[in-house]
């Protein structure tokens, strides 16, 4: 099982997820470091993400948008607050309007990702802190458009891709 635990603290507004992967730490680090890999998993299958700015450095900015089924775009940004390759990444994450200006009134979340070597396998722990429930509502609204059905489409896409690569 990839997911070891997922804990929610409704009082402190924290979310913590622990997952293990069959790949070494350097490999798992790349899914965060490389925007082309990041955009393959950050957005839901029906809302794929495009990171058009990705300055992977402390203080660096990322700008991205997710494109919905009807072509609408949901913009977001990160500011990277800490990099300790290949084991620790922290960043602030927020929303932007269609002109890519941060919408500060919606607040930001702070995420800390930790990768740990389990002898060739990797444990990834991600802790997200929210500022308010309103913001959590926005956050969820942005990522949940697809519902659960999207997962199926994703499997199809990967099968098709592997077929093409073979």
């Amino acid at each position: 099982m990839a997911i070891i635990s997922a804990d929610k603290d409704t009082q402190e507004l924290n979310f913590r997820i622990v997952a293990e992967f069959d790949a070494d730490v350097k490999r798992v680090w790349r899914i965060w470091e490389d925007p082309r890999q990041l955009e393959r998993w950050w957005g839901p299958p029906t809302w794929p993400a495009t990171f058009d700015t990705y300055d992977f450095a402390v203080g660096g900015r990322a700008e991205y948008y997710m494109t919905g089924p009807d072509g609408e775009k949901a913009h977001g940004w990160w500011v990277i607050t800490g990099i300790d390759a290949p084991t620790r990444l922290s960043f602030d994450d927020g929303f932007a309007n269609e002109n890519r200006e941060p919408m500060d009134e919606l607040g930001r979340t702070h995420a800390v990702v930790t990768l740990e070597d389990l002898g060739g396998r990797t444990r990834m722990t991600l802790v997200t802190g929210f500022e308010s429930l309103e913001q959590l509502d926005q956050m969820v609204g942005m990522g949940m458009e697809e519902g659960l059905k999207g997962a199926l489409g994703q499997v199809d896409a990967i099968l098709a891709e592997q077929g093409a690569a073979a």
């Binding site: 990839a2 997922a6 979310f15 997820i17 992967f21 299958p45 309103e134 997962a151 592997q162």
Partner: protein, 114 residues
Amino acid sequence: MVVDQLHEDEVSRLFQALADATRRDIVARVLVADSSVSRLAEQYAMSFAAVQKHVAVLERASLVTKEKRGREQIVRGEVDGVQRARRLLDDYERIWRQRVDRIEDILAEDEDRN
């Protein structure tokens, strides 16, 4: 939007109600045991009227109900209301579970190619 079956203004009421620490504390207390407004007022460094206002906000958000018992007003926690807030965190968990699934797929593809 996402928040199942909830009306937009209902959502706003719920979150505005929970955005305040005193009100969250009141909810936590009355979920454990019903309490009169005057008993609640003893817990906080604020006037009876202020606590009464907090309770009214919680009542409008369906997080508590209030009933008159003799000369007292008894406040009771509404579990349903609190669960609505929790559902949002559940949804956020779902987002991350899906992301982890997709990460796994990407990692698995590498293995296939090697």
